[in-house]
Symmetry: C2
């Protein structure tokens, strides 16, 4: 159906999947890395930096903003984006929790 049955999963699992989904595109990874690198925020330089159309970059930014990983301030005609530190650290914790729990003693299957 192309639609995920969110109701049958835990909130935690849905939430983790949602964050992963936001990270599940190289353009969004590139955007986040660029925001991290610059520390101070950039705006439409991303369009030049990454080779995608302006509308496409805008869409990716929208996805990241909706997930809460980034936030944007209007400054003049341009918009200044940056990592939302709190959400970022929370995402870090969430993934760390998943991975930390998941290192079994042996690597043998049955």
């Amino acid at each position: 159906m192309g639609i995920t049955k969110t109701a049958i999963f835990t909130d935690q699992d849905n939430s983790l999947a949602a964050i992963a989904k936001a990270l599940a595109h190289p353009a969004r990874i590139a955007i986040l890395k660029h925001l991290i690198k610059q520390d101070s925020c950039i705006c439409g330089d991303l369009v030049l930096e990454i080779g995608l159309a302006q509308s496409t970059i805008s869409q990716h930014l929208s996805v990241l903003k909706q997930t809460g990983l980034i936030k944007g301030n209007i400054s003049g005609t341009s918009v200044c984006y940056c990592i939302d530190t709190e959400a970022w650290q929370q995402a870090n914790q969430t993934f760390a929790g998943l991975f930390a729990a998941g290192i079994p003693t042996s690597n043998d299957c049955c």
Copy 2:
């Protein structure tokens, strides 16, 4: 177009996005957690554990296997799946690297 322009991104970004994509569904998160919890491997119990059709679970397992996060051994009529420890630790490192680099000094945008 529905198709990602992988060519314009770095291998690292594509790889990170690919792992994130594998984690970007609650069913797959639930499967991984179950595999972690059981340590010893399970097979079609997942169909009962998670409320999805057998064919759907099989597809999700296929996605996880293709990404390399899990592996499966045939044991009788059933197949025994488990986390691929090495790939799992590598994925852990990859995400940790992204998040660790990304905690800026201030949370102010511009």
